[in-house]
Every structure is written in C-alpha cells, then in structure tokens.
C-alpha cells in the first residue's frame, strides 16, 4: 500500500458474520463460505492472528465471537465466554508482540453483568489496548451509551479504549465524553457514495433538487479542498452519476471527521471540552431538542450541557398540565 502511517487490522470476524450468510461459529472458529469459490473455510483465532502478523499492522484485533445486540438469550453469554477463551489462543498465536499491539474486545451484549466479567477477564491478560465490541448494530441509543460508560469506567485509564463501528459524529462526541479514545466506521465514505455530506448541522443531501441552484460550498466553515473549490450545485450534478462525485464527497466527509477528532483533542487539552460539546450540540440542535440519551450520557460524563438543552423535562411536564403550544413554551 505504500502507507507510511499507522495501520490497524480487524480479525475478519465481524466481516464474516455481517457479510456472509452461511457463517457457523463453533469452539474451533468460524466456518464460512469462501466468497471466491464457495468452498467451506474455517477461520480460527490462530489463523486470524497469523494473517494479521503477515499484514504487519501496528494494532491487530483478537478474533472474538460477536453477536448482534438485538439477539437475546444464552447465546450472548456463550459468546462472551468464548471470546475470553479465544483471547488466550490469540495471545499464544501472536508471533510479533513487540511490533504489533493485540487488542482484546469486550463482548457481553447489553448485559452489565456479562460485560463486567468480560472486562475483568481481558484486563487480567494485561493487553496493550481494549476494544468495546458488539455495539453499533441497531441497538437503541440508551442501551448503547450505558454499555460504553460501564466499560470506560472499568477499563484501565492508561490504555486506549476503542469503540468499534462508531460512528456518527454525535455518537463519537458522546463516547469521547465518556472516556473512549478510538473509533472506526464506514459511515463517512458510505454516506458519501449515497450523495450525503456530513456538516455541523447534521447532514446535507446533495442529491436533493434544491442543491442544483445552490452556489454555496457544502460547509462554509470547512477548510477542505472540496469546500474551498466546489459549489453544492456542481457536486449535485456529479452525485450518483459520476465516480468523481463519490470521491469529492468522501474527501470532504473524511476531512470533517479528522477535523472533529482534532477539535475534540485540542478542546480537551485546553480544558475547554464542555464548551466544545455545547457548541457542537447547539449547531446540530439549534432548537435545543437534544435527544434524551445524549442528555443522560452527558450527565454521567459530568459535562454540563444545560445551556444548549431546551428545558426538556420542563416542557414534558408543562405540556401535560397546560394548553401552551410549543412556541409559547420556547418563549418561557
């Protein structure tokens, strides 16, 4: 690849489960149908680590038994315990512990008891870093943040915490407030291919007819090559028709995410993190209608966002008691 900067490889587990429909998980490993020739193949923890050793990334991921959070029942517990058994096999198979950092992955679904057992098990192995897995699969936001909060509270302070598959800018801001450090997501590039740009207000759908006459840049506050050179109108003419449209939007979206990370980092270093969060939320929710799960998470994270929240609970209460309409309540 001729890539001189840092690299991280995943174990292949998630891709198998999410992209292939005939995956069968046993104690040995994951059996799946080869996408190349349809033959049955087995990916074991040993083989996953071996392949990752050959690729040579700086951070490699353990093969875990991942289940969707929307599933309930004993399967979740089985997967969590197996993940712990497999981490030992991964550690044993890892031939390059001095140049590649093996991260363990916390599983356990949405069950705090299972998550706790998994965290303790992984911390006992004294790994260079820890991932919080099994989320970003369609579970409700309220459950999602609580699992992240529990894990960040119990994982060691001096090692990176990587929330896999996250995500939307809002999710990243919340997880960062809760103490997570690393993220990965297909969102910026996938949404770009569908003609959607990420902007401070949320998203901008370039395919929309109104964009055809809009001569402003995608995001006037963005310093990327796309926002400095192109209008919404031009990008609109490209999206979903020409490869260049996907390229330019991907460029902007990735730049946006990089800038978000940079801003999160510098605001924390400068001691202005709560200010940054409020600013971020104000732009995204100008009417102050911040989702309840975000308010709850920020409360646990001890970040005061009351200045950008419309008085949520007050509104709920007064709606019940009076006949004030929304505008009148806002004015209160």
């Amino acid at each position: 690849m001729n890539w001189p900067r840092a690299l991280l490889t995943d174990s292949g587990g998630f891709q198998m489960v999410s992209l292939l429909h005939l995956a069968d998980i046993t104690e040995k490993g994951v059996t799946f149908q080869s996408p190349v020739d349809g033959k049955p193949m087995l990916l074991t923890p040993e083989e996953s680590i071996q392949i990752q050793n050959k690729i040579g990334a700086d951070i490699i991921m353990a093969l875990d038994d991942v289940v969707k959070t929307t599933i309930t029942g004993p399967r979740i517990e089985e997967a969590m315990h197996r993940t712990l058994r497999w981490i030992d096999r991964c550690i044993a198979a890892h031939k390059r512990p001095h140049d590649q950092n093996l991260f363990g992955i916390v599983q356990g679904g949405l069950d705090p008891v299972l998550r706790d057992i998994c965290v303790r098990g992984l911390v006992d192995r004294n790994l260079p870093g820890y991932a919080i897995g099994g989320l970003a699969g369609g579970e409700d936001k309220d459950s999602f943040w609580r699992v992240v909060a529990q894990c960040t509270a119990t994982l060691p302070e001096d090692k990176p915490r990587y929330v896999m598959g996250v995500g939307y800018p809002l999710d990243i801001v919340v997880c960062s407030a809760l103490g997570a450090d690393m993220y990965d997501c297909v969102y910026p590039t996938r949404t770009a291919r569908f003609g959607t740009a990420i902007v401070p207000e949320g998203v901008l759908k370039l395919k929309h007819k109104a964009m055809a006459e809009d001569t402003r840049p995608i995001d006037p506050t963005c310093a990327c090559m796309v926002c400095k050179n192109y209008t919404r109108a031009y990008i609109h003419s490209l999206v979903s028709k020409d490869a260049m449209g996907s390229q330019l939007l991907s460029f902007h979206n990735l730049y946006y995410m990089m800038q978000l990370s940079r801003n999160l980092h510098s605001s924390i270093v400068q001691g202005k993190f709560p200010e940054f969060v409020c600013n971020f939320l104000q732009k995204m929710f100008p009417k102050g209608d911040i989702p309840e799960w975000v308010c709850n998470a920020m409360e646990v994270a001890e970040i005061d966002i009351s200045s950008c929240c419309a008085p949520f609970r007050y509104i709920q209460a007064t709606k019940v008691q009076s006949n004030l309409n929304e505008d009148e309540i806002q004015a209160v």
Partner: protein
C-alpha cells in the same frame, strides 16, 4: 489565442506553439478527456502531479452539464474555471465527446444537432449551444456541426456540410467576446464534400479548425485521403483540432496529415479495461533489437493488470517512469485493487496512462523537431503493433 508553427518534418507533420489562456503548449498536443469538466478518475488534487504544461489542455463537452446543472447557475458561479476549481488549466469545448456524447446523425435535423447522451437523446440548436459557450467560457470552442458516419447517402452527406456551414455562421454571429473559435469541418467519407466544406470554412473569420465527423466508422485506410482533402484547403498558419482518433497509429496518421491537437479516448478505454501502457518512451529502447514483447496475454505496448501473472509482481508498471503511480505502487497492488473492485485502481491507471501517453506526444514532437517524423512513425507502427 496565438498559434505559431515552429518546425516541419517530412510530409505535413508540424510542431508549433499554442498560447492559450495563461498556458504555452507545444503542439502536436493531446486534450485530456473529462466528464463534467473533471477527469473521470484523477481527483483534482492529483492533477498537479501530471507533467505540465502539456496536461493542462482539457476537453469539455458542454452537453455534460445538461444533466443536473443549469447554464444560468454555471454563469452565476463564473464559468468553468470557477466551477471546477481549476485555474491553471485551459478548456477546449467541443460538443461531441467520443465516450458518452455521440452524434446521432439520424435524429439531427435543420433545427439542431442530435446527440445520444446519458440523459437521453438531446437536440441542440446553435443558439442553445452558444448559450452554453457563453456560460461556461472555455478558452477555445468548436462550432456546432452535423457529423455523419461514413455510410450515409450522398444527399445526407451534402446536407450535413450545408448545415454545418450555416450553424458555423450562426455561432460566430452570436459569439461571445472571449474564447477562440474553431470552425467545424465535416463531409463524411466524400473527398469532394470534405474539400468543399474546408474551402468554405477557410473563408470564415475563425482562429482555427475542428475536423469533425471522423472516428465514426470510416476505416483507417480511407482516412489519410479525407484528411488531406481537408487540410490542403486550410491556411497553414492556423491550428487544426480533431476528435475521435484514439489509437497511437491513428494519432500518427493525423499528425502526418498536419493536425495539431487531438482529443482521444484511448486513455479512458485502457483504464476501464485495466490496461497500462508500457511501450518504451526511450528512443534507444525503441530501436533495441533485443527487446522482447512482454507477457502472455498482453501485447507489446500495454499490459493487462487483471492477469494473474501480476499477482506477485512487485515492480512498477514501467521501470523508471516518473508518474505518481510508478513512483508509489506496484503491479501487484493494482492487480489486487482490480480484483477487489476498488476505484483506486482506475485512479492509478488513469494517472499512469495519461503520463505515458503525454510522453508519447513528447517523442513525436522531438521527432518532428529533428526532421525524422516519418522514420519515427514507421518504426513505431512496425515495432509496437
């Protein structure tokens, strides 16, 4: 626009200098093909890695913008340079692009020229075309033509010449203040009609000539006579532009006849097919008798990077090539990208192929300046067939 012929080689081949916009370009030169003004795959930030100034001439078909962008909006934005964020490049507008905007001779009528495009069949009137020109503001533009393929009836062919001349006059009369105009010359595969059209257009007040209607079904054997019939009627000191001559030997044919600027889709088709140009650009290598044509399944002038023989080939496409692709990546990597359907493959291939093909044009100019173009042409066609 200013054009000066500097050197001649045997036959009609000539080398010149074209001053266009802020660029000074040596001819014979190549127009890079674009889609809505930008390359098909090379992102704008990588355009500067192509050799300059040769890579700065871009072919634009104004018809591309009819799919989603109004002329009013383009005008408001300020024309092509502003629209595309490319301030160092020069735009040459020709309605036809030989990839997706092909002339539909059966539907063209006295009202306008018909084109088959991704947004359907469009009928373009001269006045509409001129609106596009004045909104996009290219440095150079060709007048609207009725291009017909080689097999139409004599009557249809004659009509196409009459129409093209009529539209030329109409376009010139509506002509905006800026931008050099090239008069379109058609005539199908009739020497008489070609000559007649060229003679007519030669009397008009234009900065140069666009030879249209070729690359639409005539054979390579027919072409030299048609080209000569046109060129003989044109003044020597004005530049000639042609579309639809894609392959290297077709380009050489055009240069031998006296054409200066070429629009070619060769790079695009190579790139889509996963091919990379490899014929040597070093004159000593072209003559070397010990040079063996390359791999199984490919031909001596290009390689097919989809072939499994490249799976472990960690050499660049062309050893010593200074393009971004060859400086940074290997054949094995591009083979992998093609296999997993990653767009980066097309980006890297378009960069290399553009770089290489521009190098081919440089060899041609060197040969003309040294007075040995015919020799060069003969050697090239023989050796790299």
């Amino acid at each position: 626009m200013k054009f000066v012929v500097k050197a001649w080689s045997n036959g009609g081949a000539r080398a010149g200098i074209l001053h266009l916009g802020t660029s000074t370009i040596d001819t014979p030169s190549l127009l890079l093909s674009t889609r809505k003004g930008l390359p098909h795959f090379i992102s704008p930030d990588l355009l500067s890695c192509l050799p300059a100034p040769e890579s700065r001439l871009l072919h634009v078909s104004p018809l591309h913008f009819l799919e989603g962008l109004s002329m009013k909006t383009i005008s408001k934005i300020g024309g092509l340079h502003q629209l595309l964020g490319l301030h160092d490049h020069c735009f040459v507008a020709v309605p036809r692009d030989s990839i997706q905007c092909l002339p539909e001779a059966n539907s063209t009528n006295k009202i306008g020229a018909s084109f088959e495009t991704p947004c359907g069949r469009l009928l373009i009137k001269a006045v509409e075309y001129m609106e596009m020109i004045s909104s996009t503001r290219p440095e150079l533009w060709a007048t609207l033509a009725d291009e017909v393929p080689a097999w139409v009836s004599d009557k249809r062919n004659k009509t196409s010449v009459d129409r093209t001349i009529k539209w030329l006059d109409e376009c010139i009369s509506i002509s905006p203040a800026s931008g050099a105009v090239f008069g379109a010359i058609v005539g199908g595969s009739s020497l008489e009609e070609r000559r007649r059209c060229a003679q007519e257009v030669a009397t008009r007040n234009v900065s140069g000539y666009w030879v249209g209607g070729l690359g639409l079904g005539e054979s390579m054997d027919e072409r030299p006579a048609l080209l000569n019939a046109v060129i003989e009627a044109l003044p020597e000191e004005k530049p000639r532009l042609i579309c639809g001559l894609g392959l290297p030997e077709e380009i050489l044919q055009g240069i031998a006849a006296g054409v200066d600027i070429f629009e070619s889709t060769y790079i695009y088709h190579l790139t889509l097919g996963g091919f990379a140009l490899t014929f040597p650009l070093d004159r000593t290598q072209i003559n070397a008798s010990n040079l063996v044509p390359s791999d199984v399944g490919s031909d001596p002038r290009k390689i097919n990077l989809r072939a499994s023989v490249f799976r472990k080939d960690t050499t660049p496409i062309v050893e010593g090539c200074t393009c971004y692709t060859c400086r940074n990546h290997t054949r094995a990597y591009i083979n992998h990208l093609l296999n997993v359907h990653e767009m980066l493959a097309q980006i890297l291939l378009e960069i290399h192929n553009t770089h290489h093909f521009l190098g081919f044009f440089r060899l041609i100019r060197d040969a003309i300046n040294a007075g040995r173009f015919e020799e060069f042409r003969r050697e090239f066609v023989q050796r790299w067939r």
